[in-house]
């Protein structure tokens, strides 16, 4: 049984009780993924499983046999920050920085959900193939990621700034 994490393959733990979150933090020393509640209420432990956002505290590591996990440590490439990481710094999208890895991973998958036309509570046209990234859609879809310092405005600006410019690059 093995799992791919940030491109590298590792053996899964023997103890089936071990959450994916504890596996990352305590066995692999990938402490960028954070534990804020350990019960699926805060979003700090969000990672990407084959590109989809999951709460790693509610996932048993052994359930992810054969899957590809990307954590915050896997987003930068060749020493370059992911554009969203850079935008978080520019827009001051954090204070203490504890919810930040979860916010960033969550936002990356959230934008893909919009592009695939997955609707949310605030979506007007449920049949739209590609849902526009606006403030309401973003806030609704990111509401599972708590920030107690209250950096929400900066987080929203960072996400809008990053993905609007990426989308316009793709369009041109």
């Amino acid at each position: 049984m093995s799992i791919t994490i940030n491109g590298g393959t590792v053996e899964l733990p023997d103890d089936p009780r071990m959450s994916l979150l504890d596996f990352l933090r305590e066995r692999l020393d990938l402490t960028g993924t954070k534990k804020g509640c350990n019960q699926g209420a805060c979003g700090a432990c969000t990672v990407l499983a084959d590109g989809e956002r999951i709460l790693s505290c509610l996932a048993l590591a052994v359930q992810y046999d054969g899957r590809c996990i990307t954590t915050i440590e896997g987003l930068a490439s060749k020493g370059e920050l992911h554009p969203l990481q850079q935008a978080f710094i520019e827009h001051d999208g954090f204070q203490c920085g504890y919810c930040t890895p979860g916010q960033i991973c969550s936002a990356i998958a959230m934008v893909n959900e919009l592009r695939r036309g997955v609707p949310s509570h605030v979506t007007g046209n449920l049949l739209a193939g590609n849902i526009a990234l606006d403030r309401d859609e973003l806030c609704e879809r990111m509401s599972g990621n708590l920030c107690r310092c209250g950096a929400y405005n900066g987080i929203v600006d960072a996400i809008l700034d990053t993905f609007k410019s990426l989308d316009s690059e793709e369009a041109s």
Partner: protein, 787 residues
């Protein structure tokens, strides 16, 4: 609080009062801040600039290591077992099954715990970081529902968590006081803390109120709150002989080191507390039982230990903001001038701590009136010790006061801003001191214009948009400018023109490292890239907690004093061949990688040149800040004008905050980017307090019922609109850097602004927080007609 503690509080209060009288009349120049900080005059440099956080890359990459993220060989994991009764004795606790469980190394109870010396609460002894004086696993007594009664150590967290489920405690229960009414019936005492007694009387306020032609006299109540920093409380501890290293997440680094040393009978320097990153604090990240328990267990087991509280554990053993019941009465003349202000009530605390939630603090300096009666009464409950939480006193107090002012404005038929400005005091209404800075009128006028206050309909429940009622509210917030004693720092400049500033400061997201890098670079005349900041380590100079919005002023004053000493040393090293020869440190400042005469910048010599000639690789200085006596000579406060627009659904009672603006009078802003985030963060916590936050306390058994982030609601992305903030940027001439703290002012005033907007929208006045939809449904129509 013991009788000894009470006597100590009384002596402190008397000494403070005597000192205040002398300092109040001393000449300005004798006092710290009597001569403005030279940095105030530097307007176009690093101070005030929008500089991104220097630790930003570490945080966005997940590379910043928090307390539970330090890897150690041979480390054990801990799990805590909590009492399920509020008062009594632990009758039996069979540990055999847990001890036999796989991976278990130790089950620690009061029977085998090392003996620890008891600690004084920090509001009683300024060296301590402890919250209460309850013994930590030293006997079978239970003081509150949720108290730790055992700790399990195992090779993995899973094993520790399983083993803890095998412990079956039984209790001998005693009567616990868990109902506020019962506690009040047992007697109310006047609150006092750290030399302050929360009781002010000027003239006969009740008599004047009775005679006033227009008045408001109402009760307001606020519930318990939990800080809910997103990072769980966590500690990683290692013993090396009699030396203890503690990786903690704390706002009280130096005080935690003193406390652990005291409890274990060590010298302070034998304990090293490291806390470079703190995942949110808000008053909650101090010394609680878990650090002592982890260190005790590590000592018994002879191995390093990591203890991370569960989210439930945070509610069980970390105190929060307590509940208050407040009466606010204001009597006014028909023109709106205040005759009398009464603000009194009770705050719950425990027999073992001393934190009388000082909800009158903001009222003391806010309005002029002919008579005052202000008082905080305390009652004792058998519960988790309450503590400071963002805007302690003011957050709850300004809700009551500023709603009452709004209610009075309605009765007078006056605009609530006009009523506030009419009652602006010329000097501090309680202690008579002059204000060091006060631009309340400016923030209200500028804020009103930017917010479009003139579009508000003063008659409630008039503005409708479909099924929504729309309203606007305003309130003022206030928070004192504090500077703590104990500030010290070390400053080193090298021949290459690089500098290091070192102090035992804490970073919970306020931007500590960034702001002090800016200030130090500006003082030295170096680029920020040439300044390194060392903090988060109890071995560094200074003993200042990050509390009371005071850290930047406290260490900032220490760095200023250190800088002056360093300049003196550099001038002496420069000698008679330097353009600086014959100048005093007061005439010289940092400029372009060296020192220059302030009013004659051509008289300049670089650090490289001075140190090379002196054959020195570097020069270093360490100094302490003067005692913070300035706040006994001037009345020093920050102010806010908070404007809010809400929409209330006439069908469901749902409340949405659609717009909010904060205008701030906080002295000079040191970093426009991080300060704006502090303001917004405070405002958002205020929105939570207004609309959703409450630690639900079961009065039958003293247990918190919603001990998780699913049932304790905090604001999420969808609850928060774009928040507009603005500030005067006028320096306080008597504060270091001209700046006031900005961490707590944002939450004060916000709650009342929301409540007043809800009243304007609906015509319904809710005086009990949080303002949830059920409290509005009784007055809202269940159906609506469009238009």
């Amino acid at each position: 609080m013991s009788l000894r503690d009470k006597i100590q509080q009384g002596v402190m209060a008397a000494a403070m009062s005597a000192a205040q009288k002398v300092i109040a009349v001393a000449p300005d120049e004798w006092l710290p801040g009597g001569r403005p900080d030279p940095l105030i005059h530097q307007k176009h440099g690093l101070v005030g600039a929008q500089i991104p956080r220097i630790d930003g890359p570490q945080k966005v990459m997940g590379a910043a290591r928090f307390a539970a993220e330090v890897p150690l060989e041979g480390m054990l994991y801990a799990a805590l077992v909590y009492s399920t009764i509020a008062k009594g004795r632990l009758a039996a606790l069979d540990t055999s099954a847990a001890e036999c469980a796989p991976g278990v190394v130790l089950v620690m109870t009061h029977r085998n715990s090392p003996r620890l010396k008891s600690l004084p609460p920090f509001t009683v002894d300024m060296r301590s970081a402890a919250q209460d004086d309850v013994p930590v696993l030293q006997n079978d007594r239970i003081y509150w529902n949720g108290q730790p009664i055992a700790l399990v150590l195992a090779e993995t967290q899973e094993q520790a968590d399983h083993a803890k489920s095998l412990l079956r405690p039984s209790y001998m229960e005693e009567h616990a006081v868990t109902r506020l009414a019962e506690a009040k019936a047992a007697g109310v005492e006047t609150g006092s803390m750290m030399g302050m007694r929360f009781n002010d009387e000027i003239n006969d306020a009740e008599k004047m109120l009775a005679a006033s032609p227009v008045k408001v006299d109402e009760f307001y109540s606020t519930p318990r709150h939990n800080h809910n920093a997103l990072e769980l409380h966590a500690v990683t501890v290692i013993w090396n002989g009699n030396s203890l290293t503690v990786h903690d997440t704390t706002q009280k680094i130096a005080h935690t080191a003193w406390s652990l040393a005291h409890a274990f009978g060590l010298k302070t320097k034998q304990v090293r507390v490291l806390s470079p990153y703190v995942g949110g604090g808000f008053g909650g990240k101090g010394l609680w039982q878990h650090q002592l328990l982890a260190a005790a267990a590590a000592r018994l087991a002879g191995r390093p230990v990591r203890l991370v509280l569960s989210r439930e554990g945070v509610y069980r053993i970390i105190g929060g903001r307590t509940t208050t019941e407040q009466r606010v009465a204001i009597g006014a003349q028909r023109d709106g001038r205040f005759d009398a202000i009464i603000h009194e009530g009770v705050a719950a605390m425990t027999p073992n701590n001393n934190m009388p939630e000082p909800f009158i603090m903001g009222t003391r300096s806010r309005y002029a009136a002919r008579a005052f009666r202000l008082g905080v009464g305390t009652v004792h409950l058998d519960m988790m010790a309450n503590t400071f939480m963002r805007g302690p006193g003011e957050a709850a107090g300004t809700f009551a006061l500023e709603c009452a002012v709004d209610e009075l404005a309605m009765r007078l038929g006056m605009d609530p801003i006009a009523l506030r400005l009419l009652n602006e005091p010329q000097k501090d209404p309680i202690n008579g001191l002059p204000f060091s800075l006060r631009e309340v009128e400016k923030i209200f006028r500028d804020g009103a214009e930017r917010f479009g206050w003139n579009r508000r309909n003063p008659v409630p429940a008039q503005r409708r948009e479909g099924e929504w009622l729309v309203g606007m509210g305003v309130a003022s917030g206030t928070y004192p400018h504090n500077r703590m004693p104990g500030g010290a720092a070390r400053l080193t400049v090298t021949r290459e023109g690089h500098a290091t500033v070192e102090f035992a400061g804490q970073e919970m997201g306020m931007g500590t490292a960034t702001v002090h890098a800016q200030i130090t670079a500006e003082r030295l005349g170096l680029p920020m890239t040439h300044v390194a900041v060392a903090y988060g380590d109890s071995l560094l100079p200074g003993k200042v907690m990050a509390v009371g919005s005071a850290q930047t002023a406290s260490f900032g004053a220490a760095i200023a004093a250190t800088h002056k000493k360093l300049v003196k040393e550099l001038i002496s090293l420069a000698g008679n061949d330097s353009p600086l020869a014959g100048l005093s440190p007061d005439e010289v400042g940092g400029l372009d990688g060296g020192l220059a005469k302030l009013d004659e910048p051509a008289r300049h010599e670089s650090y490289a040149s001075i140190l090379t000639r002196a054959r020195r690789v570097e020069v270093s200085a360490q100094a302490s800040a003067p005692l913070p006596l300035e706040s006994m000579h001037w009345s020093m406060h920050s102010h806010s004008a908070m404007f809010c627009e809400v929409k209330v659904n006439t069908v469901t009672g749902e409340i949405r905050v659609s717009r909010i603006l904060g205008a701030f009078d906080c002295g000079r802003i040191l970093n426009a980017k991080t300060a704006a985030s502090q303001f917004r963060g405070g405002i958002i916590m205020g929105l939570g307090m207004a609309l959703m936050e409450e630690s639900k306390f079961d009065e039958r058994n003293g247990r918190i019922m919603n001990a998780n982030l699913s049932d304790y609601h905090v604001p999420v992305h969808m609850d928060v609109p774009e928040i507009d903030v603005m500030w005067t940027d006028t320096p306080d001439p008597h504060a270091p850097m001209g700046a006031h703290g900005v961490g707590e002012i944002g939450i004060t005033g916000t709650v009342a602004a929301v409540a007043n907007a809800i009243y304007n929208a609906t015509g319904k006045r809710v005086r009990d927080l949080p303002i949830t939809p059920d409290k509005l449904l009784s007055v809202l129509p269940l159906s609506h007609s469009a238009g």
